[in-house]
């Protein structure tokens, strides 16, 4: 599997062939508790890095998801509509949110590695 990059807003992205797959981190899903709904962007929507592209909801909270990179939405995870619990079960795998055609691969350089992110999360606690 391709390398994962992490943002300080608790999103992850993996890139293969110019297409990034984005989701929220396992730490983020633990903080949210049971995910009940994910509001996803429309396919084809142009996105700038840092845009609020999605909303992930638990029973008592709604959190914005900010795109870690710029580009165009290529695909969304349709399965989340019926099974939002996938985010809890496998946040950094089957619980992905959307795929995006990257417009600037260099933006990945601003993101954290797994190691850096783990240290960042530890610092939050």
């Amino acid at each position: 599997m391709a390398q994962l990059y992490f943002s300080d807003e608790h999103e992850w992205i993996s890139v293969e062939g110019g297409i990034g797959t984005v989701g929220i981190t396992n730490y983020a899903q633990e903080q949210l508790g049971d995910v009940v709904f994910v509001d996803l962007p429309e396919v084809g929507a142009p996105i700038n890095k840092g845009d609020d592209v999605a909303v992930v909801e638990s029973v008592k909270a709604a959190s914005e998801v900010y795109s870690p990179v710029s580009g165009e939405i290529a695909e969304i995870n349709e399965e989340l509509a019926d099974a939002p619990g996938l985010v809890n079960q496998n946040a950094e795998g089957d619980g992905w949110f959307y795929k995006i055609t990257l417009s600037d691969v260099a933006e990945l350089d601003d993101l954290m590695s797994r190691e850096d992110y783990d240290a960042y999360v530890e610092g939050l606690e």
Binding site: F37, D39, E57, S58, V59, K60, A61, A62
Partner: protein
Amino acid sequence: MRYLPLSADDRTQMLGAIGAASVEDLFRDVPPDVLKGAVFDLPDHQGELAVERAFTAFAAKNLSPARAPTFLGAGAYCHHIPAAVDALIQRGEFLTSYTPYQPEISQGTLQALFEFQTQVCLLTGREVSNASMYDAATACAEAALMATRVTRRKKVLISGGVHPHYADVIITQTGFTDIVCERLSPDPLGIEDLMGRIAPDLACVVVQTPGFFGRLSDFTALAAQCRGLGVLLVVAVSEPVSLGALKPPGEMGADIVVVDGSSLGMPLSFGGPGVGLFASREKYVRNMPGRLVGETVDVDGRRGWVLTLSTREQHIRREKATSNICTNSGLCALAFSIHVAMLGESGLVKLAQVNHKAAAALFRRLAAVKGAKPLSGSFFNEFAVMLDRPAAPVVEALAAKGVLAGVPVSRFYPQFPEMENLLLVAATETNSDADMDALVAALTEVLR
């Protein structure tokens, strides 16, 4: 003071426990000159009897519809409320309970609201209803805002058949945003062209049936036109009793249906509090304003109800909420629901028939009065009458004779001189033949 249980002795003991010298001492964070300067030119406390007498004196200066033949409508209709409705809503467990945020001790309110939502869905022909809004006017404004969220468009078209208060509230509530409202002129003859105005930049069109002037409309073709251009159709209904006789707006293809529920369960109370019903399509549920009650199970697997999809609401979503509404019309929704439960299918259908036939009978009788010409067309329990002179003074003259004859349209549209002679007249199950005799006789005399 009869509502305050603490005794002087209690207060002394409690201050001792707190370690404060006096109650005033507890207000020490308030600037002392503010406390000292506050002088109130108001009377001291009074017993129940004195207060009741003051209210009886207020009432004596009013003409009660219970004591006068009454044909008033224009969005508020006189109906009989079964005695059981008021008895039930005055049970302390309903009357004095809080919003059901603690579901384990609020199953009564939650189940009743779930039943209310189901009734509203059945009556309107749409799949999702919220647990109530303040009234139909504010619900119309919420519908327009919701349509702009769903479509991401910024234009709202309001038909001239919509109640002017609903239109005013939509315009006020969107007035401080980037939403643009176009409001068509009042349309007593039902001749406005809506089909030609449906455009791909519209978020929604707001229409009403029966319309403000009493006219019935079938918006099926309009709905198709809207659907083709991605425009939402909002249908308002100001007389819920009509839903016992008329095709439901959902069946016509309305995307959002708004109903003034106050005809059922609630006394008129000079127009408030009432209740706004709000129903929509399932796919728009997350864009709906207001509270929603949903079914679930408890830890023992037993069926129960909770407030759900709360992430749309202000207490969680704050500035990104679908609405700022919090307290709404829970008890009025309950009263509506109990009244509908009392009526049931056959009762509501009968009530609608009795209303319609009362208005049909009155229409014929007024057509025979010289100087009065009821406008032709289909109506439910209200229609417009063109008089041969301004309607407002006629209504005053009839009130002086003890008849509450109807509502002059000029009260809402003073800027339209062509509306000056128009009178709205409604008839319901509360109107006897003697009431109609009194109206016809008094009107004949005034128009002589």
